[in-house]
Structure formats: C-alpha cells, structure tokens
C-alpha cells in the first residue's frame, strides 16, 4: 500500500477540491465515454483516454465523468468517443486519436461546440 503520508496528502487535496467545487458548481455534468473493446484498444483507445485525462488535469476541468464501453460494432472507426453534455443528445466521434481528443475536450466539453469533422453519421 502507498504510505500513510501520501494518503494524508490526498485528504488535503480532497478538501481543496471540495472548496473549489463550491465556488464553481454550475456548468452541468459532462460524460465522456471511450470505447475500449479489443478493437478500440488495438486502435489506440488507451492513448485517447490518456489524452482526455491529461486535458482534465492540465486545464483543471472539473465535473467531467470519464468512463469506457465495449465494442460498438464499428471497429473500423475506432477509437470511438461519445460525449454527453447535460441532457443534450449524445455526440459520437470516430477515429479519435490523442490530438483529436484534446480538440474535443477543448471545443466540445469546455466550450459546448461539437467538433464536426469527426462526428460519425449514425
């Protein structure tokens, strides 16, 4: 197990995050879903997810839930990422590499404008 000292640190980080969340509680919930079936992983989905998490960390984006799902039956379009902002319709993106993921995080998740070039027609 990690040392107690680091868990103490976590406690502090958690309290600070709670404080910050109180300040900006609005903005609504955003869900980002990365397809991680065998096909998705082979196509680079872990790097896509890493890029999404990295964006959240470096740009300090609060209130985003990141989850994964299995193969969606469109293996040739992997890595596939779905974005759900509040109660809007789900947007499904295809061929999302690390760079596209960053673009989606910035443009869609943070600023609410879907990245048209990568939306899959469903």
């Amino acid at each position: 197990m990690p040392a107690i000292k680091s868990l103490e640190e976590l406690k502090r980080v958690r309290e600070e995050t709670l404080e910050k969340k109180k300040v900006k509680a609005a903005s609504g919930n955003v869900q980002v879903i990365v397809a991680m079936g065998t096909c998705g992983i082979a196509a680079g989905a872990r790097d896509t997810m890493k890029s999404i998490l990295n964006y959240i960390e470096t740009q300090n984006v609060s209130g985003v839930t990141v989850t994964q799902t299995g193969c969606m039956g469109m293996c040739e379009q992997e890595p596939i990422v779905q974005v759900l902002v509040g109660d809007q319709t789900k947007v499904v993106y295809g061929k999302v590499d690390a760079q596209v993921a960053e673009q989606i995080m910035k443009q869609h998740v943070q600023n609410g404008t879907p990245v048209k070039d990568y939306i899959l027609p469903l």
Binding site: P2, R14, T38, M49, L53, E57
Partner: protein
C-alpha cells in the same frame, strides 16, 4: 497490440463484463527465472468447462459470446510466440483467473508497456469495482521490487468524490506512475 499492458486492459474488460466486483491484476518480472508472468483474477460469474474451451478459439467465440472476442486468443498467441503460455482457471459462480507467461528475454516478447496508464484507465472507468494492482520484480542479482496498489483506502479517503476531479486525478496518476517506476527493472535491453 503492441504492449502486454494493453492486453491486460483488454482482458480486464472481460472481468468487468462478467460482473466481477473484485479484480486483481498481477505482473511479475523475474530475471533470475527469465519469466514475465501476468494474471487477472476476478470474482465474476465464471465459465463452465465448455465455454472456457471456446474462449480460446477466436472463430468460435466471436460468433457466440458477445463478452469475449479476440482478446484472449490474441494474448495466447503473444505468450506462445515468446515461449510462454496462457492458462485459464475458472468455475461457474466463483470467478476466473487468466494467466499469461512470457520468456522475459525472448526476442519476440512484446514490451510490458505502460502499466500505470492501463490501471488508471480502469480505476477511472469503473469506480465501483475494487481494483488491486500487484507489480513485482526480481533482477538478475536477486534484488526485489514491489508495488501493491489496493484502491480501498483511496476510495475511503475520496468518500464519493470522483477520481476525474483534476487535483485528484493528478494525485492518483502520480501515485501509480511513481509506484510502477520505483519497482521497474533498471536494465537497458
């Protein structure tokens, strides 16, 4: 797939699909016995003997079961290409353990890859599952390294707060990366 760590991410997905609540990923690198051994153990619904046979066959499984596809045959192939093997230990209602071994020094052994990223992706994606990562190394001289990450205390401390909050994410990622790094074998091959 280019990394053993990517295979682990893929196989762990099967454990999640099988309803596993406690999933443990183990990686052992031993230069004295020249072996790299990985395993994923879950307490999901398990498989009967017939199904267990099927999951090793890529052509049969893709058509009959949706939860397991090419993943296991691909890992089996990767192991066998480097003088290793894949074994499956499963029982209905009890769970499944999949173990893959590789000859560490084999020229065709794929690199272990980014274990920390694999584990972080699982932690973030399935916060309700109890995850354990065990990474152990033994170098040629017999010196051992060990990193055990059980998310129980982390989750108790977070008390419902999401791991994807930026500061928390930074903390957890750092913890995993440092832990894996500290135990990694210090060799240039």
């Amino acid at each position: 797939m280019r990394e053993i760590a990517l295979h682990l991410l893929d196989i762990a997905e099967n454990s999640v699909a099988a309803g596993g609540q406690n999933i443990c990923i183990e990686v052992q690198e031993n230069l004295q016995s020249d072996l790299l051994t990985t395993s994923i153990t879950d307490d999901g619904r398990g498989m009967d003997a017939e199904t267990a046979q099927r999951v090793l066959d890529p052509f049969y499984t893709t058509r009959t079961t949706r939860k397991v596809g090419l993943g296991i045959p691909l890992l089996k192939l990767a192991a066998e290409m480097s003088e290793g093997r894949l074994s499956l230990d499963t029982e209905p209602g009890k769970g499944t353990k999949i173990e893959a071994s590789f000859r560490h020094s084999h020229i065709d052994r794929m690199p272990l890859g980014d274990l920390a990223s694999t584990f972080l992706a699982l932690l973030v994606s399935y916060p309700k599952i109890h995850w354990t990562l065990i990474y152990e190394t033994t170098d040629k001289g017999g010196e051992k390294g060990s990193f055990i990450f059980d998310d129980t205390e982390l989750k108790a401390e977070l008390d419902g707060m999401s791991i994807t909050e930026p500061e928390i994410l930074k903390f957890v990622r750092g913890m995993l990366e440092e832990g894996v790094q500290a135990s990694a074998l210090k060799i240039i091959s």
